[in-house]
Amino acid sequence: MKLELRGITKRFGGLVANDQIDLVVQPGEIRALLGENGAGKTTLMNVLYGLMQPDQGEILLDDKPVHIRSPKDAISAGIGMVHQHFMLVPVFTVAENVTLGVERVRGLGLLDRRRTRRDVHELSERFGLQVDPDAYIEDLPVGVQQRVEIIKALLRDASVLVLDEPTAVLTPNETLDLFRIMRELRDGGRSIIFISHKLKEVQTIADNITIIRRGKVVGERPPSTTGSELAALMVGRSVQLRVSKDEARPAQVRLEVRDLTVHDDRGGMAVSGVSFQVRGGEILGIAGVQGNGQTELCEALMGLRPSTGSVLLEGHDIGDASTRDRLRAGIGYIPEDRQEDGLVGAFSVADNLVLDVYDRPPYASGIALNLGAIRAAADRLVSDYDVRTTSVLTTVGTLSGGNQQKVIVARELSRDNKLLLASQPTRGLDVGSIEFVHKQIVAQRDRGLAVVIVSSELDEIYALSDRIAVMYEGRIVGYCQPDIPEAELGLMMAGATAGEAAHAAGQTDGSQATHDPDLDEALELPGALDTKPPAAEPQAQEPEP
């Protein structure tokens, strides 16, 4: 079905969220809508889906104007939508969920479960969705839940499928699965509108890319367009996709982890005997596919999860210290899950900016909070870190993802730290915000902090790391330099040692993988970058461990 949006305009008070937007999606096309958070992509899709009425403009399906007043109209017109947040009943099965609202009944109003299950099964087979109709939603991983949403739309005969930031919740592998499914759907003649702010994904999957900035269409490009051109269109200025940074000048060891073993929630081994060292003035990137123990490693380092082994911060064992004491000892922590662990969504920006220092002077004297000092600090941090908010009293949950992350970054970097531990620091952020966060992290390194970045995004690992450790199934399988080819690093993330990876990637010259994969060997070489003498850092007066 051909979908056309003509001159769609939507205003909220003085703000024009969509300004004369034209968009044509042909049958069998994957059309990407690329834009920063807040550019108006979601508003446009809400208009299409009948959740909002446009102030001007019209929607045409197969060249016939249609009026879509509610999602029900949209569904019956053949438009399906998969939201970022799934609309599924956790305690129902897949079949029950997809049939909800369009239940198939036999006489006497009995549910025709068998037919529903058959339908699900058929759709699942046809598009390679691999979903078990009898599985309960709460037992399924996020990626499969998303496929259930897709089945839900397909079962309602959607010929135009809108996917709103579908990869935000997915692991890289799940993303690849989703792309495969999207291609199958496209080849089956359906149109897909793929909303994203991730350049790489858009370049990979889209047939055509429409870029939206501040509510306007600023261009249409083929997927072969370079990332920097797309980024510039999206942000409105040229963006550094990779922040420039000077050579690292590693100083003394600031963090030393020995034989750290951590269990996961189910009692299994999440991290088994990991040891590493990080020096002041260097960034250690911990690469790995999500779920290989990185989350547990970070939590253990922060005292959020019991562990055995020792963690030395500047020679002092903090292995038994509470989270609070670790923060006090000088660890800045940017947690992986910003909404859940990093911020209190219902609190104001100001309160979130003091979330881990609220009980220390000048923010408190005794048990009394000093609201004036909190407010003043918030005002200062908001302007220093360019947090876009109407006021420091605004609820943080109403800010965009990028601004929420800036609040966390501002809070954690404004303390006087020795170590920065950042887990997935730019997940879900648009390119402008990523650039900002990366710059701040590099600045911390240049101030002499030891920095540990945990990321499953290769781009991020390459952009930031001075040294890369690869985690696989709870172990560090090897170290490498940030000039290692992507294919090789990918293989290491799949469990190959550096040597094997270099070999398999066809590298006759083994110099790419600089280190012996053997763990103990690698430990002896923490300062692989020690080619330069340690710079005279102001903070470098600590004793050697």
């Binding site: 799934f86 909800l100 219902a346």
Partner: protein, 444 residues
């Protein structure tokens, strides 16, 4: 009391749905059932603290009065008879209806707030103090409700449901009674010792609940409900044995009167009997308000309540906060008992605990889990109780005092259903329309 953090529009629906199985359990205790229970609890707490505005609350009270009026009409034979002749004399039916309802409510007003006849009497040489009698009765009735309301509210703010205010009340009452008749102390000191004892009696129970939750993950709702029964039975046992708390030579479950020294004085002598208890309740409310919005402890409580995982990541000891807030909640419920035992009753019986503990939940709900809101809600409920009793007497039972319970129930019902109030009064919804509409879209 308006503190900015809670003035926001939450999106509980989203939060509730987007929970994936690979999300780490917040407490390290496995089990989807537990996390779902907590999730539901959080959604309800958010709905209570943030879902309804002051406007909604006022409209809910108004709507409850209207519905209550309908019930009053139905219970009045004169009016029902007038309606049976509606077509021959419609004016008469309407007039009778108006008379009946307005008489009932004006009687309640006179009983609970101000009786005009006492004002005119005062001008003709009567007692000025009598003018304030209704208000002081209301304050006396409100006192224990405010304190149990605070108990529930403060726990709410830390994300806990304190259903155990009733049991904690009993705990406080037992200690206050025993200290009240069992020891002899100088006047002022005796009062203070009894008050502290009552606080401790409730606090120990609350602390126990907090410790169970912190150490073992036992859900506080279940523990507090069960502890209520334990405390009722303990009270029954104590009041059945003269060696314990039973008054000698009594067959009833009744404790000795507490010493006069231990009684809370009334400010300004009997008729305008604003008991010290009421002042304690209001002071406690201010203390709670300060604690929650201006202290580091309150910041901890609110953080733990709004997001235990974020609290943990920022170094707040969630378990310790639970224990501490339950201790305070229990103490407040115990203090509520002290204001009754040392204030109006002077004697503990098996029925003393009444419904203070459970009314505390409704008071906290109506006060939107804010301390000063609990004071206002407590006063409203106090006024309804006093007014209802007065109206029953004044109308010779025509308006049953039970109408007050109906009104209370309706108010709570309407407050808890803001969507209903918005629909009735054609208010525009302020939040979350998008997601709701989506859900509707799929389900036809």
């Amino acid at each position: 009391m308006s503190d900015p953090p809670t003035a926001a529009e939450p999106e509980p629906a989203q939060a509730a749905i987007a929970v994936g199985p690979d999300q780490p359990e917040q407490d390290g205790q496995a089990g989807p059932g537990r996390s779902r229970l907590r999730l539901t609890a959080n959604v309800i707490i958010q709905a209570i603290t943030q879902g309804s505005s002051t406007v909604i609350t006022i409209l809910a009270i108004f709507l409850a009065l209207v519905v209550g009026g309908v019930l009053i009409v139905f219970s009045d034979p004169v009016v029902t008879h007038a309606w049976s002749q509606f077509f021959s004399a419609p004016g008469y039916a309407l007039a009778q209806t108006w008379d009946s309802v307005s008489f009932a409510y004006s009687q309640m007003f006179e009983g609970a707030i101000l009786n005009p006849s006492t004002v005119s009497a005062a001008f003709h040489g009567g007692s000025i103090a009598a003018i304030f009698y209704p208000l002081s009765s209301t304050a006396a009735q409100a006192t224990p409700l405010i304190l149990t309301g605070l108990s529930v509210a403060i726990a709410f703010r830390a994300g806990l449901f304190n259903i155990g205010a009733s049991g904690q009340w009993v705990g406080g009452a037992i200690v206050a009674t025993w200290l009240g008749f069992g020891v002899s102390l100088p006047p002022f000191i005796h009062v203070v010792v009894c008050l502290i004892g009552a606080f401790v009696g409730g606090a120990v129970l609350g602390w126990f609940v907090g410790v169970l939750k912190a150490r073992t993950g036992a859900h506080e709702v279940i523990v507090t409900i069960m502890l209520n029964y334990v405390m009722y039975d303990l009270l029954s046992y104590l009041l059945s044995h003269p060696a314990m708390l039973q008054q000698p030579k009594q067959t009833n479950q009744i404790a000795p009167f507490i010493a006069n020294d231990a009684n809370l004085a009334h400010v300004g002598g009997p008729p305008p009997q604003v008991g010290i208890g009421f002042l304690i309740a209001v002071a406690a409310a201010f203390a709670c308000a300060w604690l929650l919005s201006r202290s580091t402890t309150g910041f901890q409580f609110r953080t733990v309540g709004a997001s235990p995982s974020a609290a943990r990541s920022s170094g707040i000891n969630v378990e310790r906060s639970w224990v501490l807030v339950m201790l305070l909640a229990g103490g407040l419920a115990g203090l509520s008992a002290a204001t009754v035992i040392q204030g109006t009753n002077t004697q503990l019986t098996f029925n003393s605990y009444g419904t203070y503990g459970f009314d505390g939940i409704t008071v906290a709900l109506l006060g939107r889990a804010k301390p000063l809101g609990a004071v206002l809600a407590g006063l409203l409920f106090g006024a309804l109780h006093v007014g209802g009793t007065y109206a029953e007497g004044a109308t010779l039972g025509q308006v049953p005092a039970n109408i007050v319970q109906v009104l209370e129930g309706l108010i709570v019902l309407f407050v808890a259903a803001p969507a209903l109030i918005r629909a009735v009064f054609r208010l525009r919804a302020t939040s979350g329309t998008g997601m709701e509409a989506v859900a509707k879209g799929w389900n036809g």
